[in-house]
C-alpha cells in the first residue's frame, strides 16, 4: 500500500525516503519548486531556504514553512508549494541574497543561464528594499589557472561548489571560511586555483548556480549554436559529454547529469582537454615518403601508392608479410573494418590492437576462468558493495571519474584494500595497503587465497554449485610456503591475512584491477588468481561484486570485441577453428585465412627477421608507447611499407612511408564500448577538419581501392554488419542505443546486461586456475647490474603518450615527466629534489628530473611516458606476459645516478 500526501490539495503517492522536494518533482517539472542550493548530483543541504513550502499535518491545519529539499514527506500531510506566505518568503530571501550580489547581469558570463537570475525572475523581485551597505562586490577574480576561474563577488554561499568538491570529486579543495556575512569560499590554504590542490575536474564550476566559479571556456554561457552529446575519447570510463559548438568550432564541454556513466561529472581531460582537435599540428593532408622526406600528397595518390605496394608485397611475400595494428582510440565500427580489411582483403590473421599492451591478459585470464573477458559488473555496483579491492590500478589518476567514486567509497570507512607498489592516492585512504615489490602480484594473491583456505572462509555453496577444479586448487594453495611468499612480496603476512579476511567476509566484495596487474610477465596468471578470489568467496553474479578490469583506453573493450587479435575474430570466435572459419568466410563473402597470425611483439620480430614487409597502424604510436623503443623503431625501419593513420605526426608517423590524416573523436560518429561493456554512441560534434577523414571512411576507401566490395562508410551500416556477426551485439541497433547506450550482451530483442554470470558462467562452471610465482626474467638476468626496479605509471593530467593532452592547457598544469624516488635512495646517490637523474637499463639510458616522495618504497622508482623527449620506453624490456604477450612495463631493472654535464639543473 503506497503512502499518500497532498500537493496543493491533490493526493499523490510517495516512495519511502522521499523528501518533499523529490516527491513534488516526481509529479511536476523540476523547477516547480524553485531552488538555489540544490543540485542533481549533491546531497540536500538546506541552505538557501528558497525551496520552502507550507506544510500542514491536517487539512486546513496550521501551516509551517519547511525546506522541501531535506524535509521528509509526512503521510497525509498537505503541502502547499505556492501559498502567498511562501511566495513572500521566497521573494524576501532572494531579495536578501541580492543585497550582496552585483546586478550586472547584462555583462555577466552566465546571463540567461543563471539560476539566481531565473529564481529572482520567478519570485518576482522588482526592487531591493535595503539601502546599499557593506558587501563583497570588490572581491578579486582568480584567473591563475589554465582552466578554472572564479569571481566570488558573484557568490551566493550556496556551497554547491564545496559539496561538489567533497561529494562528487572527493578532493576537498574548496571550503567555507568565515562566519555569517563573512562566510566565503576558499581554495586549499586560502590560495588560488593554480596553487591549490585542485584537480581541475570542473565539478564546482558546473555546480555553481552563478558565474562565481566557471572556466575559461565559459561553459555556462548560452552563446553556443548547438549542444551535441557524445562520449569522451580519453579513458575507459566512457563519460558522456555535452559539447557546445559555436561557429562550427567546439566551444566548451559539460557533463550531462542524466549520464548513466558519469552523472554530471567528468575530469579535466574530458571537460577541458579538447583543444588538441584543431591544433595547428593536426595533419591535414596525406603524406608520402619521397627521397626520404614525407611530402604532401592527394588521397588518391596515397591510396594508389598503398594499394600498389600492398599488392606487390602480397604477391612477392604472401599475405602473411603484412600486418595491421588497430586502435582502441577508434570506434567499434572502425576496429571492425580494420580487422575485416586485414583478414578479408589482405588475407592474414596478422591483426592486433593496443589491447595487447594493456588488457590482453585480462581477456585471456578471465576467458580461462569465467569464459568472458570483460568486466563482470558495472560501476554503479559501487553503491551496493561492502568491500572494494583495487589491484595494480591508480584510478584517481587514470580513470578519474570511477576513481572519484571509489575514493568516495574508501572515505566512508568501509573495508578497502589496495594492492600496489606505490602509495597511490587511494592507498592513502585504504584500510589495507599491501605495498608489494613490483612483479610479485601472483605471490601476494596466493597469500590471500592461502589465508582464505586456511581460515575456512570459502563460500562452499558457491564453489560446489558454480565451479570446478576446486580440490586440486585447494591442494595447490595449501602447499604454498607462506613465509617464502612473505619474503618475496615484502608485505607483512598478518596484514595480508587481515585484508584477505576483509575481502572474504564482506557480504559483497568487488575488485578492480588495472595495468599493474596485466603488464607483467605473469599478467594472465594474476588475472586468473583475481578470478579465483572472486569464485572462492562467491563474489560473482550479483550486485556489488565481481572482477572489474579498469579498461585503459576509451574503446579497448571494443577493439577486442571487434576481433582485433590474431586468434579471435569479431565476437571472440576462434579464428583457427574450421567451422568458425567457414562462418566468417561466408559472412565476409571471401575466404578468410585460418593460419596463425602474429601478435604485436611477434610482428616486430618478424620484421627484424625480414619476414614482415608491410604494416598498417591505425591511430597507434608504437614508437613511443611500446616497450624497448629502439627495438620497435628498428623493426619499423626494416619495413617496405609502413602506413600510419593518425591525427598528429606522431613519433611513429615520422617513420612511416605513408601518413593518412584521420579525424578526431569530435569529428566522427560511431560507438565506443566502455570498461563496463556499455556500447555508447559517439556523435560527430563538428565537421572533420579539412583534409582529414574518419578512420572508418579511410578503411572503406582503401578496401574499395583494393577491389573489395565494401559499401560507403556509415557507422550505422557497419554496426548493423557487426550485430549480425558478433553474438553479444545481436540486439544492438544504431537508432536504439539511446543516450546512455547498452551493456553487452544485448539480446536480439534489445535487452542488455548489467551483470554477467548471474546464473552460470559462459564456460558452464567457473574454473579454478592455479599459478605459481616466478621471478621475471628481467630481474633474474639484470638485477645484479641494475639493482632498482622501475615501474611505469600515469598522471592525471596526461593521457598515454600525451599526443593529445600535451596540445592542451593540461601541459601548463603538468609540464614534464618526473622520476618518483624514495628520499632514502635519493640520498644514497646524492640526488636532490629537481635534480636530473640518469636511469639506465639493459636497453638504454635516459635523463629525467627527480621528485623525492614516499609514494615509492626504497628500491623502487616510478615514472611516466607522457612526454616523448624523455624516451621512457627506451628503458623498458621486451619481456612479456608468458600467455598473452602483454609487455612488462611495470618491472624494469634499472640503475640510477645523478646526471652529469648538460643535464645538470
Amino acid at each position: 500500500m503506497k503512502k499518500t500526501a497532498f500537493i496543493n490539495d491533490k493526493p499523490y503517492s510517495f516512495e519511502p525516503g522521499d523528501t518533499i522536494l523529490s516527491f513534488v518533482r516526481r509529479y511536476f517539472e523540476r523547477d516547480f519548486v524553485p531552488t538555489l542550493c540544490d543540485a542533481p548530483n549533491l546531497d540536500p543541504y538546506g541552505a538557501c531556504r528558497v525551496c520552502s513550502v507550507d506544510v500542514a499535518l491536517v487539512k486546513d491545519g496550521p501551516c509551517k514553512a519547511q525546506a522541501s529539499c531535506h524535509t521528509p514527506v509526512m503521510e497525509n500531510s498537505y503541502i502547499y508549494t505556492d501559498s502567498e506566505r511562501i511566495k513572500r518568503l521566497r521573494k524576501n530571501i532572494v531579495e536578501l541574497v541580492l543585497t550582496d550580489h552585483p546586478l550586472d547581469c547584462l555583462t555577466c558570463e552566465v546571463n540567461n543561464n543563471c539560476e539566481l537570475q531565473t529564481v529572482a525572475a520567478r519570485v518576482g523581485i522588482r526592487d531591493v528594499r535595503y539601502p546599499e551597505g557593506k558587501n563583497h562586490l570588490d572581491r578579486k577574480k582568480d584567473l591563475s589557472h589554465p582552466y578554472m576561474t572564479s569571481d566570488f563577488s558573484k557568490c551566493i554561499n550556496c556551497a554547491r561548489c564545496v559539496r561538489a568538491c567533497d561529494e562528487v570529486q572527493g578532493e576537498m579543495v574548496l571550503n567555507m571560511a568565515g562566519r555569517g556575512f563573512d562566510a566565503h569560499i576558499i581554495k586549499s590554504f586560502n590560495n588560488n586555483f593554480f596553487d591549490s590542490d585542485c584537480v581541475s575536474c570542473g565539478a564546482c564550476a558546473q555546480a555553481c548556480p552563478t558565474s562565481a566559479i566557471s572556466d575559461v571556456f565559459e561553459s555556462k554561457s548560452v552563446s553556443a549554436d548547438k549542444k551535441v552529446r557524445t562520449v569522451c575519447t580519453y579513458c575507459g570510463v566512457g563519460c558522456n559529454l555535452e559539447v557546445a559548438v559555436t561557429n562550427g568550432k567546439v566551444k566548451s564541454i559539460q557533463a550531462p547529469y542524466d549520464a548513466a556513466v558519469n552523472q554530471g561529472h567528468t575530469c579535466l581531460k574530458g571537460r577541458f582537454a579538447f583543444s588538441f582537435y584543431n591544433h595547428p599540428d593536426r595533419l591535414r593532408t596525406p603524406l608520402i615518403r619521397k627521397n626520404g622526406e614525407l611530402v604532401p600528397a592527394t588521397w588518391d595518390e596515397a591510396y594508389n601508392y598503398i594499394a600498389n605496394e600492398l599488392n606487390r608485397i602480397k604477391k612477392e611475400h604472401g599475405p602473411d608479410a603484412i600486418g595491421g595494428i588497430s586502435s582502441a582510440r577508434c570506434t567499434n565500427e572502425e576496429n571492425f573494418l580494420m580487422q575485416k580489411f586485414i583478414r578479408a582483403v589482405i588475407g592474414t590473421n596478422n591483426i592486433d590492437s593496443c589491447a595487447r599492451v594493456c588488457h590482453s591478459p585480462t581477456a585471456l585470464g578471465m576467458q580461462r576462468t569465467f569464459g568472458t573477458g570483460a568486466a563482470t559488473n558495472s560501476i554503479i555496483d559501487l553503491k551496493y558493495t561492502d568491500c572494494v579491492m583495487v589491484i595494480g590500478a591508480n584510478p584517481t589518476d587514470a580513470h578519474p571519474v570511477t576513481g572519484a567514486k571509489i575514493k568516495q567509497f574508501f572515505m566512508k570507512g568501509k573495508p578497502s584494500i589496495v594492492i600496489d607498489p606505490r602509495r597511490t592516492e587511494l592507498a592513502r585512504y585504504a584500510t589495507y595497503h599491501l605495498q608489494l615489490r613490483p612483479g610479485t602480484n601472483v605471490a601476494l594473491l596466493n597469500m590471500m587465497l592461502y589465508y582464505i583456505v586456511m581460515d575456512g572462509l570459502e563460500d562452499q555453496k558457491f564453489i560446489e554449485s558454480r565451479t570446478e577444479g576446486y580440490e586440486d586448487f585447494k591442494k595447490h594453495i595449501l602447499n604454498l610456503d607462506i613465509n617464502e611468499l612473505e619474503k618475496v612480496t615484502g608485505v607483512d603476512k598478518s596484514l595480508v591475512r587481515k585484508a584477505a579476511h576483509a575481502y572474504a567476509t564482506s557480504p559483497n566484495a568487488m575488485s578492480f584491477h588495472g595495468l599493474g596487474v596485466t603488464e607483467h610477465s605473469q599478467g594472465t596468471y594474476t588475472v586468473m588468481l583475481i578470478a579465483d578470489l572472486a569464485m572462492i568467496t562467491g563474489n560473482i553474479g550479483r550486485r556489488g561484486v565481481g572482477v572489474n578490469p579498469l579498461r585503459g583506453q576509451n574503446n579497448v573493450q571494443g577493439a577486442a570485441d571487434m576481433g582485433c587479435q590474431p586468434h579471435q575474430g569479431a565476437g571472440y570466435l576462434d579464428s583457427y577453428d574450421p567451422e568458425i572459419n567457414k562462418m566468417y568466410s561466408a559472412f565476409y563473402g571471401v575466404d578468410v585465412p585460418m593460419r596463425k597470425g602474429l601478435k604485436i611483439p611477434e610482428m616486430y620480430d618478424a620484421s627484424l627477421a625480414g619476414k614482415m614487409k608491410a604494416m598498417w597502424l591505425m591511430g597507434e604510436d608504437n614508437a613511443q608507447t611500446d616497450p624497448n623503443t629502439q627495438h620497435v623503431v628498428s623493426a619499423f625501419k626494416q619495413l617496405d611499407l609502413l602506413v600510419v593513420q593518425d591525427i598528429f605526426l606522431s613519433e611513429t608517423a615520422k617513420l612511416a612511408h605513408v601518413v593518412l590524416p584521420a579525424s578526431s573523436f569530435l569529428e566522427k560518429s560511431g560507438t565506443f564500448t566502455n570498461g563496463e561493456r556499455r556500447i555508447q554512441r559517439v556523435n560527430a560534434v563538428v565537421e572533420p577538419l579539412e583534409g582529414t577523414k574518419p578512420d572508418g571512411q579511410i578503411m572503406c576507401e582503401i578496401m574499395k581501392h583494393m577491389g573489395f566490395n565494401q559499401p560507403d562508410y556509415h557507422p550505422g551500416v557497419v554496426l548493423d554488419e557487426i550485430s549480425r556477426v558478433v553474438p553479444f551485439f545481436a540486439g544492438v541497433k544504431w537508432d536504439e542505443l539511446g543516450e546512455n547506450g547498452k551493456q553487452w550482451p544485448v539480446k536480439p530483442d534489445g535487452t542488455d546486461t548489467e551483470i554477467l554470470h548471474t546464473e552460470s558462467f559462459k564456460l558452464g562452471k567457473g574454473r579454478f586456475q592455479t599459478a605459481t610465482w616466478r621471478e621475471t626474467e628481467e630481474l633474474k638476468s639484470n638485477s645484479e647490474q641494475f639493482p632498482y626496479i622501475l615501474t611505469t605509471n600515469r598522471e592525471l593530467e596526461h593521457y598515454n603518450n600525451g599526443t593529445m593532452t600535451r596540445r592542451t592547457g593540461n601541459v601548463e598544469i603538468l609540464t614534464e615527466d618526473v622520476l618518483l624516488i624514495n628520499p632514502a635512495d635519493a640520498q644514497k646517490h646524492n640526488i636532490a629534489d629537481g635534480d636530473m637523474v640518469c636511469i639506465s637499463s639493459a636497453r638504454g639510458k635516459i635523463d629525467v628530473k627527480a621528485k623525492l616522495t614516499d609514494e615509492v618504497k626504497s628500491g623502487v622508482v616510478s615514472s611516466t611516458f607522457h612526454f616523448p623527449d624523455i624516451h621512457m620506453n627506451d628503458l623498458t624490456s621486451s619481456v612479456a606476459d608468458s600467455e598473452a604477450m602483454c609487455p612488462e612495463y611495470k618491472v624494469v631493472a634499472v640503475s640510477i645516478r645523478k646526471s652529469k654535464g648538460v643535464y645538470k639543473k
Binding site: 531556504r49 525546506a67 524576501n92 530571501i93 551566493i156 555569517g180
Partner: protein, 447 residues
C-alpha cells in the same frame, strides 16, 4: 522554596578537588548506579524525575535518552554541551569551575545509562581556565579509578575527553557541536537523522547540557520520584539562574522551579531588587534570545496571575505576552535602558555568530543589525520598523538550526512590546541621543 541541590556544597573549602567532593557525598550516585542498577534503570529514574534539558529548550532528558538507537556493534556517545555562549548565561561556567566533579560524576552515570564508553565535554574555547579545571578533575578521577577501564570493578569502562571549541556560538547547537567535535567547520546538520540515530562519527549520540548532566547523580541518589516532588508541575527540580543587569545582587542562584518571579527579582535572597532605586523596565528571562518582556508582563501574566520561575509560567501567553525560561540567563533592565540600543547590541551578536549557511540568517541578521544602527543614527523611518519585522519573520522557523530563531525573537518581542520606543527614535532622533544604557555583552560577567 530555597532548596539547594546542585550548589549545596559550593561553599565547602576545596570542593573543587576529589577529596572534599567525596567527603560531601560525591560519587555515591556513581557507586549506586554502577553497583546496584542496570543502565535502563538509571534512564527510568531520570524519566521519572521529569528532569528537563537545562540548555534552553527544556526537552525531557529521560525521553531524549530513550530515543537513542542501539544497533548491534555500534558505539554510542554522550556529549556534554558546555559551549555556554548565550549572552547573559554563565551558570554552567560557574558550576564547572566550582564543582567539576559534579559534572564528571554526572557524565559517568549518564554514560553508564546510555551505554557509552567514550564521552566528550565540549567546552567553550574561551573558558580555558575551566578547561584546565576539568582536565585536572578528570585526571583525579582516572587516578581514583572512577574513569577508565572497569570503573570500581563494575565492568563498565569510560574514557572522558574535554574538547575546547574554537569560539563560535553556533557550536552550542548540538549538531554544529558534533561537526566541530569531529574536527569540521561548525555548521549545523540537517535533521533527520537526529543525533540519537547518527551523531558523533555517525553513531548514536546524546547531547546534554552541563546542568542537566550534573543533576543526574542527585536523581540517582534520591530517586526519580523524590526529585519529581521538587519544583512545580512539569517543571521539576531546581534550576540555576545567572542573574545580571541592573540589580543589586548579580550572580548565579539555584532556585526551586516555581519560585515567584517577584520574589526572585526583589528578595534579598536573590537579585535584591533594582539597583539605585530605579524602576524596572524590562526583563529578558532566559538568555538573550528569548523574548524580552516589559516589567509588568514579567511579574504578572496577561491574565493577572503572578508569574513563577518555571517553564510553564514564563511561557504563559505564548510569545504575545510570555517568554521562555531558556537557559536561565536572567537580564534585568531599569527604566533608563534603551530597548533599541540594547536590541542592536544583541542583534550585532547574532549577526556575528550566524554560521552563514542559511541565506535568511546569513543576510537577515546583518540587515537587522544595519537597520537597528539606522535607528541609533537617527536616520530610520517608520517603514524600517515594518522592514525589521518582515526580516525577523522570514528568519524565524525558516532556518536549519535555532540560531535563526534566537536572532529573530528578540527583534520581534522588542517591536511587539516597545514599538513606541522605535517610533520615538524615528520622530525625535535628537532627543534620544543621550541614552547611553545598553548591555554590553562583554560586561555580562559573573560577579
Amino acid at each position: 522554596m530555597s532548596r539547594k541541590i546542585l550548589l549545596k556544597h559550593i561553599d565547602v573549602p576545596g570542593i573543587r578537588g576529589l577529596k572534599a567532593y567525596r567527603e560531601n557525598g560525591g560519587y555515591q550516585a556513581l557507586e549506586k548506579a554502577l553497583k546496584s542498577m542496570k543502565p535502563d534503570e538509571v534512564t527510568e529514574e531520570v524519566k521519572k524525575s521529569g528532569l528537563r534539558g537545562r540548555g534552553g529548550a527544556g526537552f525531557p532528558a529521560g525521553m531524549k535518552w530513550s530515543f537513542i538507537a542501539k544497533p548491534e556493534g555500534v558505539p554510542r556517545y554522550l556529549v556534554c554541551n558546555a559551549d555556554e555562549s548565550e549572552p547573559g548565561t554563565f551558570k554552567d561556567r560557574y558550576l564547572m569551575s566550582h564543582l567539576p566533579h559534579a559534572l564528571i560524576e554526572g557524565m559517568i552515570v549518564s554514560s553508564f545509562a546510555l551505554g557509552a564508553n567514550t564521552s566528550y565535554i565540549y567546552i567553550r574555547g574561551e573558558m580555558l581556565y575551566v578547561y584546565h579545571i576539568l582536565e585536572e578533575a578528570i585526571a583525579e578521577a582516572y587516578e581514583a579509578g572512577l574513569l577508565g577501564k572497569n570503573i570500581l570493578g563494575s565492568g563498565f569502562s569510560l574514557d572522558l575527553y574535554v574538547h575546547p571549541g574554537g569560539g563560535a556560538y553556533i557550536c552550542g547547537e548540538e549538531t554544529a557541536l558534533i561537526e566541530s567535535l569531529e574536527g569540521k567547520r561548525g555548521n549545523p546538520r540537517i535533521k533527520p537523522p537526529f543525533p540519537a540515530v547518527k551523531g558523533v562519527w555517525g553513531c548514536p549520540t546524546v547531547v546534554n547540557n552541563v546542568e542537566t548532566i550534573a543533576s543526574v547523580p542527585h536523581i540517582v541518589n534520591m530517586g526519580g520520584d523524590e526529585y519529581a516532588k521538587i519544583g512545580i508541575g512539569k517543571s521539576t527540580g531546581t534550576k540555576l539562574i545567572s542573574a545580571c543587569g541592573h540589580i543589586n545582587k548579580p550572580g548565579v542562584y539555584e532556585i526551586e522551579l516555581g519560585l515567584p518571579a517577584e520574589e526572585f527579582l526583589y528578595s534579598d535572597n536573590y537579585c535584591g531588587g533594582i539597583r539605585n532605586g530605579k524602576k524596572l523596565k524590562a526583563v529578558v528571562a532566559g538568555g538573550s534570545s528569548v523574548p524580552i518582556l516589559p516589567g509588568e508582563l514579567f511579574l504578572k501574566t496577561a491574565n493577572g496571575e503572578p508569574r513563577l520561575m518555571s517553564y510553564e509560567s514564563l511561557a504563559d501567553g505564548g510569545f504575545a505576552s510570555g517568554t521562555m525560561l531558556g537557559s536561565g540567563g536572567f537580564i534585568v533592565m531599569d527604566e533608563d535602558t534603551s530597548i533599541v540600543k540594547n536590541l542592536w547590541n544583541f542583534t550585532r551578536f547574532y549577526h556575528h555568530e550566524s554560521c552563514g549557511q542559511c541565506s535568511p540568517c546569513r543576510e537577515g541578521t546583518g540587515w537587522m543589525e544595519k537597520l537597528l544602527h539606522k535607528f541609533l543614527d537617527g536616520h530610520a523611518t517608520i517603514e524600517d520598523i515594518d522592514l525589521l519585522w518582515d526580516i525577523q519573520s522570514k528568519i524565524e522557523g525558516k532556518t536549519i538550526c535555532p540560531l535563526g530563531d534566537a536572532a529573530a525573537w528578540p527583534v520581534a518581542s522588542a517591536i511587539r512590546h516597545f514599538r513606541s520606543e522605535f517610533e520615538e527614535y524615528v520622530k525625535n532622533p535628537h532627543s534620544i541621543k543621550d541614552v547611553k544604557h545598553y548591555f554590553r555583552i562583554n560586561n555580562l560577567v559573573e560577579q
